[in-house]
């Protein structure tokens, strides 16, 4: 780890009010400044990599709100991840990690197949029965939580059903390749279908390569750098072979990771070129606001927007999604207080640290309640899962939707 990155922190404390876990605990060990100090003290030999120290670091959501707030350009979230990765590098993967990260995630067919039992579980009515009988109480709490987060799955993953080439409607203005995130494809396929449709409506030919693989974010999160690099190489090869203006994704988490490919394979010009082409869907749609406005029909709804960390903090995109929502006629947009505060999803954080994730989620739901809206829009599947659960439990009158799905409804004029 680069020592200068650690001493760049001047301990001004500007990160503290942006950090979700500091706001909950007021503990320096749960703050970005404290995490950087802990890592620095390990590097300097003053502290050991004790269980307790690792436990403190593991409370970091890696939401990177601290990076947005830091005057010196220190990214505490990234430093914690890097530190964890380096530690992992020496240890190797556990049996489960090896199974999931190496044998499942990089192979879309296997990943999709692994969800078949889940789909059956829902479709046969078993889920209803399980929930009614409270059977999940017999299983470990983390499994119960996972079950609770699972929304209704589409009949088939989008990757299997979407055309590899979707032609432009009307005059073709260019070609984009579509990076289909695993969770978007497996769970939020309607939103991704809407994404492709919007691009096509705006005159883009959309190519969705079927042999693309997971972006590698799960590997990164688990400290599996070799697995990450494998994913990067595969995707750079697949997308590098297709002429396109942009590589578009509607998953905030994937977008943030894809934009880092150049960094992951440092010195590889193709990886850098790949990253330079990556755009969040909101960035591409926002280029054509007038055309889009002309196609949208009124939706008389009150809506607010939650900034996913991976879109606002990691990619610096805040304005475009709001501009897009405001294009919809008769839609009343209301700003959310602390809209860019993490919802507590943060990859698998809500399963690993359920108690903290719930506190952060409740704070988010309270701000949504205060707006009095009917609908919450956002742009990342992790947030969709977490907030869907939170709203269902605490604020059931408010619905949740991906920005592209709402825009597609406005194309049809059906709220």
């Amino acid at each position: 780890m680069d020592y200068v990155k650690l001493i760049n922190c001047m301990r001004c404390g500007m990160c503290l009010p942006s950090c979700p876990t500091y706001k909950e605990t007021f503990l320096e060990t749960a703050s970005p400044r404290g995490r950087v100090a802990l890592i620095r003290k390990v590097q300097e030999g003053e502290l050991d990599q004790s269980e307790r120290l690792l436990e403190y670091l593991s409370l970091c959501l890696d939401c990177q709100a601290c990076a947005s707030a830091c005057p010196c350009g220190v990214n505490a979230g990234e430093l914690v991840t890097e530190f964890t990765c380096e530690r992992k590098g020496g240890e190797g993967l556990s049996f489960m990690e090896d199974l999931v990260l190496r044998r499942l995630v990089p192979h879309p067919d296997r990943l999709e197949a692994s969800l078949v039992p889940m789909r059956l579980y829902q479709r046969t009515g078993l889920q209803k029965l399980v929930r009614k009988l409270g059977v999940m109480k017999l299983f470990p709490e983390s499994l119960e939580r996972m079950e609770g987060l699972l929304p209704n799955l589409p009949a088939r993953p989008l990757r299997q059903t979407i055309a590899e080439v979707t032609p432009a409607r009307g005059e073709e203005r260019g070609t984009v390749t579509f990076f289909l995130g695993c969770v978007m494809s497996l769970i939020f396929s309607e939103a991704s279908r809407a994404t492709v449709r919007l691009l096509s409506e705006l005159g883009y030919r959309v190519v969705t390569p079927r042999n693309q693989v997971c972006c590698g974010a799960p590997n990164m999160l688990s400290g599996d750098l070799d697995g990450l690099k494998e994913a990067v190489r595969s995707n750079v090869a697949v997308f590098g072979g297709i002429e396109a203006d942009f590589i578009v994704t509607d998953c905030g988490g994937c977008g943030a990771e894809l934009k880092h490919y150049g960094h992951h394979l440092e010195g590889d010009p193709e990886a850098a070129a790949f990253s330079a082409k990556v755009r969040d869907i909101s960035q591409v749609l926002a280029l054509h606001q007038e055309e889009l406005r002309a196609k949208l029909k009124p939706l008389p709804l009150t809506v607010t927007y939650h900034d996913p960390c991976h879109i606002a903090h990691c990619q610096g995109i805040r304005r475009e999604p709001r501009d897009l929502l405001r294009l919809i006629p008769r839609l009343e947009y209301r700003e959310l207080e602390a809209a860019d505060a993490c919802c507590g999803s943060a990859g698998t954080y809500n399963i690993a640290k359920p108690e903290m994730a719930d506190r952060i989620l409740t704070r988010k739901i309270d701000t949504i309640r205060a707006t009095g809206v009917e609908l919450l829009a956002t742009g990342n599947p992790g947030c969709l899962l977490q907030l869907k659960k939170g709203l269902a439990e605490q604020l059931p009158q408010v619905g949740i939707v991906h920005v592209t799905e709402l825009l597609a409804r406005s194309l049809d004029g059906t709220p």
């Binding site: 200068v4 001493i7 760049n8 001047m10 301990r11 001004c12 404390g13 500007m14 503290l16 009010p17 007021f26 503990l27 320096e28 060990t29 400044r33 404290g34 100090a37 802990l38 003290k41 003053e46 502290l47 004790s50 307790r52 120290l53 403190y56 005057p71 010196c72 350009g73």
Partner: protein, 456 residues
């Protein structure tokens, strides 16, 4: 620290809020002051006045030191403790009352400054002190350090707003001073004494501040000056014209270059100084004052002058000033931010001293700050691993502080003395000053358990 003593503290605040592990103590060993670190014996996060009183009574009996801490953004090492008890106020964070009839607000010490701003501004009221760290600094810390900010020129500093305090004394007894009255001449004025006492006289558990009506209008202006001296003269001329801007901020050439390299806001690199000026108040008065400011800047040969048309544009004009510290801080790993302050008529000679000293010691010092009230922030960009450069930086600041004192200024305008400026204080206040301060300390804290080793 003895285990049995820690056990007793635990019974007061609870296990969860008693931190004793190596890792926690390590990260409570610093605040925002560069180069300073120590290791407390235990960190406590009490939730109420009565818990604070019990902690102090217990520590007083045992002769163990207590250091109050808010969010740890102190810039003079004031919240560090070697081996003692650190008491963090964050959990005591209720805005107890906003009294719209008496125009006061009463808060607990852990309330974040900007949270108070939001609360009172929502009611058309105004609490002006706005230290740079206001989004995380606590009101308790602001009172202990007598924090200033950008609006100090027109609206004064924290001391000008504190009207009442509840303070837990060293032995755990309570002291109530002042209240909500505008006038109060009963006995010695203890509030101003407690404000800026840096945690050495008592622990504030309740703070009452006065509020003023929120100014109805504000105009933001930006001016570039090819000559530093003209910018300084323009500052004096604005004040002499009886215009007191809410903000009158300055950036020097080094800072301008850093800001432009970092945020590309379109600052020309051939100018010597940039002034950001904001006037606020009644709309008619504001318009008149803005016209005067424009006329004065143009008379002092500014090469560019812009008045913001709306809030968005105002924000844009303020960008250079807002990003000054970030832009400087990114250049090198270590940033030493000082707050030497001079009578505002001495801004130009003071800037000259800073520039000459930087040259003499071969250092990069960018200066920005509150030109209108003479409070400058010469900021030395260095690397803590370069021991030789750090030594030169200290030698340079030594000379800068001496120059400030010679001009009738002070060694610290708003950061406090703490540990970092302790050795300069006698030069400023002399033997008699230190003697009086020691006498006051003795009267409040004869056993010397409150934040020992700070100030003098």
């Amino acid at each position: 620290m003895e285990q049995s003593f820690i056990k007793e503290l635990q019974t007061i605040v609870g296990d969860q809020y008693t931190l004793t592990d190596r890792e926690s103590l390590a990260v409570y060993g610093y605040d925002s002051t560069p180069e300073l670190e120590s290791r407390p014996g235990v960190v406590l996060l009490p939730g109420s006045l009565s818990e604070v009183a019990r902690i102090l009574a217990l520590c007083h009996g045992a002769g163990i030191s207590v250091t109050p801490r808010g969010s740890g953004t102190n810039l003079s090492g004031g919240s560090l403790s070697g081996g003692g008890v650190v008491v963090q106020t964050s959990r005591m964070n209720r805005i107890v009352e906003v009294d719209e009839e008496n125009l006061t607000a009463t808060v607990e010490p852990g309330v974040i400054t900007s949270a108070l701003h939001r609360e009172v501004e929502g009611r058309g009221l105004f609490y002006p002190p706005d230290p740079g760290s206001m989004n995380i600094s606590t009101m308790g810390g602001n009172v202990a350090e007598n924090s200033g900010g950008l609006r100090g020129l027109k609206y004064g500093v924290t001391a000008d707003y504190v009207t009442g305090l509840t303070t837990v004394l060293a032995d755990g007894e309570l002291l109530h001073t002042g209240g909500k009255t505008v006038k109060d001449v009963a006995g010695y004025s203890l509030n101003p004494l407690l404000v800026s006492s840096e945690g050495t006289l008592g622990f504030f558990t309740s703070i009452t501040v006065k509020l003023i009506p929120k100014p109805r209008a504000k105009i933001t202006m930006l001016a570039h000056f090819p000559e530093l001296n003209q910018a300084a003269l323009a500052v004096s001329a604005i004040i002499a014209a009886k215009v007191i801007p809410a903000t009158l901020e300055f950036l020097d050439k080094v800072t301008i270059k850093c800001v432009e390299d970092y945020s590309h806001v379109g600052l020309p690199l051939d100018v010597d100084a940039v002034l950001l000026i904001e006037v606020d108040g009644h709309p008619a008065v504001v318009a008149e004052e803005a016209a005067s400011v424009e006329e004065i800047c143009k008379r002092h040969r500014c090469s560019f002058f812009q008045t913001a048309k709306d809030a968005d544009e105002a924000l844009k004009l303020a960008t250079a000033r807002r990003t000054a510290l970030s832009a400087l801080a990114r250049l090198k790993p270590t940033t030493i931010l000082e707050d030497a302050t001079v009578p505002r008529s001495c801004i130009a000679p003071m800037l000259q001293v800073i520039q000459e000293t930087a040259r003499k010691y071969n250092l990069t010092i960018g200066t920005f700050g509150h030109a209108g009230d003479g409070n400058l922030h010469p900021t030395c960009l260095t690397d803590e691993r370069d021991k030789d450069e750090i030594a030169r930086a200290h030698a340079a600041f030594d000379e800068i502080f001496d120059a400030a004192i010679a001009m009738g200024g002070t060694i610290t305008g708003e950061h406090g003395v703490g540990l970092a400026k302790k050795r300069y204080l006698p030069r400023l206040v002399g033997e008699s000053g230190i003697k009086v301060m020691r006498g006051i300390k003795q009267a409040f804290d004869p056993k010397g358990i409150l934040n020992p080793g700070k100030v003098f």
